[in-house]
């Protein structure tokens, strides 16, 4: 009797063991399942459309007819990232305004935002694009992941359509910006709508109080650090310098912090000449040492604030406007928050803020450095209404509508005609941010970049939390080697 009881409980326990454990793991399995199938159909989609341009049109028409009937309005879905402010968000407002004025009333434009942290957005997008059931008709893609998503077959090449679009061919788009949306196969996978530059935002009022120049232009890293030290000494309640340093802030940590530092040393992430990733260099150690110094001397924000996903917003929407932060290494777009309908309206920002270029490590040529990124509208390979989506993109990214978006968002335009428009140039900092673009560097257009980038974030966070630069760099080298393969790395 007792034995039977034991056996019974053992059997139940084993069943429970698998059940409880796989409550967690079965998610992975299921996702993988759809993933495999999704990948296949994505493949078929690209091949078919690549072969003949009319393929997409037919598929679109039959799809629409089959599912909705001719009389029904076609719904064009646009997916973008909502960082938590919902209908107050710039993109939501813009999509609403543009779709109201859109002349073709036979389609309905529907925003389908993904509310996620910056890092999660790209994973969610990738999952959505894998399947025909979940892919939107238009998706906003950060140019850093565009190449990767294109290699995965998730996106529709737009070359044939672009050829027939006058705005694209007549020089309205700045030629250099087309590079950001061209994947490694030479095809264009998106229409860019903004770009950005990066530099040092600083609060002039605080600088004055600390006895620092209001027209600040540091010549090298030491001058940046010494300004931060002065702030710490004179204004102990103020955070001297804020840089994104956590894994949770995703690409912002890689690009605004690490790459701005690394490229400032003269080193790069990827060696274009040999086509190899640089896994060991003095530049890596120097860049990490800067992060280490900021944290060791407590010149940065408390780690509990900077290591979470909201860090960027905390800095630009709270600390900087409230006079609790002196210097912020960040992108040109943060001023979008301060506009009357932005997330943190701050009318005085034009006079209080300064935007200094980020100097190179020792002041070596070209003196300052910035990285340029940007976003594009792309059509997923699994989209149901590709032609309607394309027509809407052409309308949404014409001169007038692009201008509205970049002004509202505080971004830099990718259109030459908008750049000349007085309505654009009179916005504070637009001139200066555009000027920094002259020395702009771009992230490697490699499909492994997003994976390497997450290793950068891990490396920076580990240094911020006390690991030595050498140890963190060593781990980075191992991880990158594993990702790209031993034949694709080089040490300097």
């Amino acid at each position: 009797m007792k034995n039977g009881k034991k056996l019974w409980s053992a059997a139940t326990s084993l069943v429970l063991c698998t059940t409880l454990l796989f409550a967690c793991s079965s998610n992975g399995g299921n996702n993988g399942g759809t993933g495999g199938e999704g990948g296949n159909s994505a493949n078929a989609g690209t091949n078919g459309n690549g072969g003949n341009a009319g393929g997409g049109e037919n598929a679109g028409a039959s799809n629409g007819g089959g599912t909705e009937g001719d009389a029904a309005k076609k719904v064009i879905t646009i997916t973008y990232r909502d960082d938590g402010i919902g209908e107050k968000g710039v993109l939501f407002q813009w999509i609403k305004a543009v779709s109201e004025s859109y002349p073709d009333k036979s389609v309905e434009i529907k925003p389908t935002p993904i509310q996620a942290s910056e890092g999660d957005y790209f994973a969610k997008i990738a999952l959505a694009l894998k399947s025909k059931d979940t892919a939107p008709d238009i998706v906003t893609e950060d140019t850093f992941i565009l190449n990767s998503d294109a290699s995965a077959g998730y996106l529709e090449p737009l070359d044939d359509r672009l050829e027939e679009w006058e705005d694209w061919t007549n020089g309205s788009f700045i030629e250099a910006m087309k590079k950001g949306v061209t994947a490694s196969d030479g095809k264009v996978y998106g229409v860019p709508y903004n770009t950005d530059s990066r530099g040092l935002w600083y609060n002039k009022t605080l600088f004055k109080q600390a006895g620092l120049p209001e027209n600040w232009k540091p010549k090298n890293w030491d001058e940046v650090l010494s300004a931060a030290r002065t702030i710490k000494e004179k204004l102990p309640d103020v955070v001297p310098i804020w840089m994104n340093m956590g894994k949770a802030t995703g690409e912002a940590t890689s690009m605004q912090t690490y790459e701005m530092l690394l490229y400032g040393t003269g080193e790069r992430l990827y060696d274009d000449a040999t086509g190899k990733w640089i896994t060991k260099s003095q530049g890596i150690i120097d860049a990490l040492s800067f992060v280490e110094t900021v944290n060791k001397e407590k010149l940065g924000p408390p780690l509990s604030k900077v290591l979470n996903g909201q860090a960027g917003n905390t800095a630009s929407r709270e600390y900087l406007p409230q006079g609790k932060l002196a210097i912020q290494l960040d992108g040109s777009w943060i001023t979008g928050n301060y506009l009357p309908n932005g997330a943190a309206p701050w009318p005085e920002y034009k006079d209080v803020l300064g935007f200094a270029p980020m100097p190179t490590s020792k002041g070596q040529a070209p003196g300052s450095i910035t990285l340029a990124g940007g976003w594009a509208l792309s059509i997923p390979a699994n989209a149901k209404n590709k032609d309607e989506a394309w027509n809407f993109i052409k309308y949404a990214l014409n001169k007038e509508n692009t201008q509205k978006l970049v002004i509202a968002a505080g971004n830099i335009t990718v259109r030459a005609d908008v750049a000349k428009d007085p309505g654009y140039t009179e916005m504070p900092f637009n001139g200066i941010a555009t000027e920094y673009l002259q020395n702009a560097e771009f992230r490697p257009a490699q499909d492994k970049y997003p994976e390497v980038s997450t290793q950068i974030q891990t490396m920076v966070e580990s240094v911020a939390t006390g690991t030595s630069p050498e140890a963190a760099a060593k781990k980075y080298a191992q991880d990158v080697t594993r990702i790209v393969g031993e034949d694709h790395i080089v040490e300097k």
């Binding site: 063991c17 399995g29 996702n31 290591l307 966070e461 580990s462």
Partner: protein, 296 residues
């Protein structure tokens, strides 16, 4: 004689009916548990990725993902963190605390039992994510704990960053203790009072009764509960992810968090599935250990 002959086919028929009734649940288990597990095993031998070239073409990479686990120092630290979290929050925390509460409640009056029971159960019925947010706001920089400290004139502590592992362990204890308490309550109620009375008559102290009579009597329950709590805790993801995100650095990165990071942050689903199998392996080893010690 004839009654025995008649009983045999009846018994066999009974076995078959038993199987029919079981069939639907077996089918559900096959589709929703066994199939994903097999898929997971399959994908763990591939380079399945969320984006990039590998997302387009699925390739077999043999044992690469497993070889990688052996080289990866984060796997080692994640296993370590998982064990610390497991022993701290499940084996010691929930188990011991749950047992103590159940013991203290024994033979107390009905109202006392009800009130204490309800309070402890509140943590158990709270959904994991709500629980995580509650404790995040408790331990946060401007959270309740710091507010209390401040009102007494102490300086604040960034709990989630100075002692992250302790905070998530406490959170899991708060969340899960009720389960152990309920199990032990039932078990303690089953201990016949005659045995304990006999021990008292023999002159045993309270401590002796507890260690020599009560605990040996409910040993099986302790082991079963230990196994259930262990398996539950091994898979905890949401609680840690919402409170610390596995950070700062990798100080609270347990295996489920690490698996998520590999699969959905680094986009390497293949490697992620391999890690999930490692997690299953650890679960099986621990279960076998518990079952073995139950038999002894």
């Amino acid at each position: 004689m004839s009654s025995i002959a008649a009983a045999a086919p009846a018994k066999r028929r009974k076995t078959w009916t038993w199987l029919y009734f079981l069939l639907p649940s077996v089918a559900i288990m096959l589709v929703f548990f066994i199939y994903p597990i097999l898929l997971t095993v399959f994908y763990s031998f591939t380079n399945l990725a969320l984006t990039g070239e590998a997302a387009k073409e699925l390739n077999f990479v043999g044992l690469d993902n497993y070889a990688r686990m052996f080289e990866d120092p984060t796997v080692r630290s994640s296993i370590w963190n998982t064990l610390v979290f497991l022993i701290g929050s499940a084996v010691i925390g929930q188990q011991v605390l749950g047992f103590l509460i159940a013991l203290l409640m024994k033979h107390k009056n009905r109202w006392f039992r009800r009130i204490i029971g309800t309070i402890v159960l509140a943590g158990w019925v709270t959904p994991e994510i709500v629980c995580a947010l509650c404790l995040y706001s408790f331990f946060g920089d401007e959270g309740t704990l710091n507010a209390i400290l401040q009102s007494f004139g102490f300086s604040t502590v960034t709990w989630l960053y100075t002692i992250p592992m302790v905070t998530v362990i406490l959170a899991n204890i708060w969340h899960g203790t009720a389960f152990s308490m309920l199990v032990f309550q039932a078990a303690l109620d089953d201990v016949p009072s005659e045995i304990e009375e006999a021990a008292v008559v023999d002159g045993a102290s309270k401590w002796q009764i507890l260690t020599r009579v009560t605990i040996p009597y409910i040993k099986d329950t302790i082991m079963t509960n230990m196994m259930l709590v262990t398996l539950q805790t091994l898979g905890v993801f949401g609680l840690i992810y919402a409170m610390t995100g596995g950070g700062p650095g990798t100080s609270t990165t347990t295996l489920p968090i690490f698996m998520y990071n590999q699969a959905f942050v680094n986009y390497q689903l293949g490697y992620g599935t391999a890690i999930s199998l490692l997690l299953l392996l650890i679960g099986i080893i621990l279960s076998l250990f518990y079952i073995r010690s139950m038999k002894e």
